[in-house]
Amino acid sequence: MKLARKLVDSVKPKFAKGSKLEKYHYLFDAFETFLFVPDTTTKNGVHVRDAMDLKRTMLMVIIALIPSMLFGIWNTGHQHYLAFGMESSFMDNMIFGLIKVLPIIVVSYAAGLGVEFLFSITKGHPVSEGYLVTGLLIPLTLPVTVPLWMVALGAVFCTLLGKEIFGGTGMNFMNPALLARAFMFFAFPAFMSGDIWTDLSPEVGHQVVDAFSGATNLVVFDTNYASLPSAWDMFMGFEQGSIGETSVLACLIGAVILIVSGVGSWRIIVSIFVGGYLMGLLMNILAPADNLAHAMHTPAHFHWLMGSFAFGAVFMATDPVSAAQTNTGKIIYGLLIGIMIVVLRVFNPAYPEAVMLTILLLNVFAPIIDHIVVERHIKTRLKNA
């Protein structure tokens, strides 16, 4: 530690104001504050005396994401060995998962932070910690078989057009991680749908078992919900899907961390779950009685367990920048997300998983929801004045 401190201190004057490498000051600053707690205080903006700054907020989200990430790594190995019908220990699964998942995470960080550094040098603003979360969220929403160049392209697209173009962290209106996912989904549909959810790289002396099917639960439920796996398996996450989305349990652990630390809004998370459940119940009532296999008959709580409902509700919709800002607005925003997810899942065969696009859509609606809430509030206050 002392060695690192010494090293940092020895190069520090080179980046100071007026010296040769002044242009790269913010780059240096980012690395220094990443390694050590800075001793400088805030100079502009709001002077809130709190230990909670942007850096801690983002770190809290990363801590909350760790259960999902670890489970995703394990599940990658588990699904792989399952497809080949091989016995595998916990360590086997973890090692295989790490080999597959770690490069995706590294590429996502490298590409996105590259753009961020470029902007901080040319535009002269400090490197913000916002990308630390986005860079981890992107890999967790992707299938494990995704090519690495595509991850880089998605990360660059979302950092550039989703964030930096608006002025950086906190200035955008759409969730950058979901934007990357949506961009890749529409630009390269062949890599983002179909039998891509399990890594089928060949194993010496083993063949893919006959019973293997690459379909996720969302495809299954569209044709016949009765052939879904048990609710318990879906809750724990022993299923195919994007790396981080499968385990509802891991997402709920993350939700508890986010809510207790005050980073994520419980209003949004709870209202999404409530909205989805109520819409699921309504679907059950309206379902055609003569066709019991119809997707509308799916039990309401299954919508919570399938796909990335929980992951999206906990980590994506709660993004404090792109979500609604007012308390009432947050509840409306959450309810609408829950309702729309179930509606699109059931009625839109083009996209079996609606969570990604629904949250992006409600990001678009969030400002007008806030506007209406604020206007109404002003009106009632004026009336009572």
Binding site: I165, M171, M174, F186, A350, L357, L360, P367, I368, D370
Partner: protein
């Protein structure tokens, strides 16, 4: 009935005039700086749409289509005047816009001055002519035309109010100088169109 509901939902969300066809972009980009003026223009467009598409439908069916003039004299049964559709549709729209202009000037003078030139320019708003032409191309009947025109109008209203609300929110963002204003509005529209893709694929 189900068909009408389908057309209504489709024209608002699935085939939104702005996000699916990029029709009516000029006023959409120009009058979306404030929610209040955007709402005013959106309402004016809904009204003009509601007036013109059914009117154009009547003109089309009772004057222009082949054999439509047979009610005057049987010898006119072979006359086909559909080549006049464009010019007559535009004249109807221009007339309706004049009406709206007079109404707005009389009852909402503040809105009238803030909309400025863009109120008479509704005449050349492509989404309004587009609604009339889609009505002709898809061979809607009268009730379908009515529902379709209201739906397209509401779709435009929704799009312009959403863009205005986002632009109001982004007023405090540090957008790079060359992109300020229209450039940013274009990029936002593209991103919004991506979010609206969630509806494409719904079969109605």
């Amino acid at each position: 009935m189900e068909n009408l509901l389908g057309i209504f939902v489709k024209s608002i969300f699935v085939e939104n005039a702005i996000f699916a066809f990029f029709l009516g972009m000029c006023s959409y980009l120009a009058v979306s700086k404030k929610i209040k003026t955007a709402t005013g223009l959106g309402l004016a467009v809904i009204f003009v749409m509601l007036l013109t598409a059914p009117l154009n439908y009547l003109i089309l069916t009772y004057m222009l289509k082949e054999g439509a003039l047979a009610w005057i004299h049987p010898s006119l049964a072979t006359v086909d005047l559909t080549f006049l559709a464009f010019i007559l549709f535009i004249s109807t729209i221009a007339g309706a816009v004049q009406l709206v202009e007079m109404i707005v000037e009389k009852f909402a003078p503040a809105l009238y001055s803030s909309l400025g030139i863009f109120l008479p320019l509704i005449t050349v708003n492509c989404s309004i002519l587009g609604a009339s032409l889609f009505m002709q191309e898809r061979e809607y009947n009268f009730s379908e035309t009515l529902v379709f025109s209201v739906g397209t109008g509401i779709g435009f209203f929704l799009a312009i109010v959403l863009l205005a609300s986002i632009r109001e929110k982004l007023r405090y963002s540090k957008v790079p100088e060359p992109l300020q204003g229209l450039g940013m509005a274009m990029i936002i529209t593209g991103l919004m169109a991506m979010a609206f893709l969630s509806f494409s694929g719904i079969k109605l």
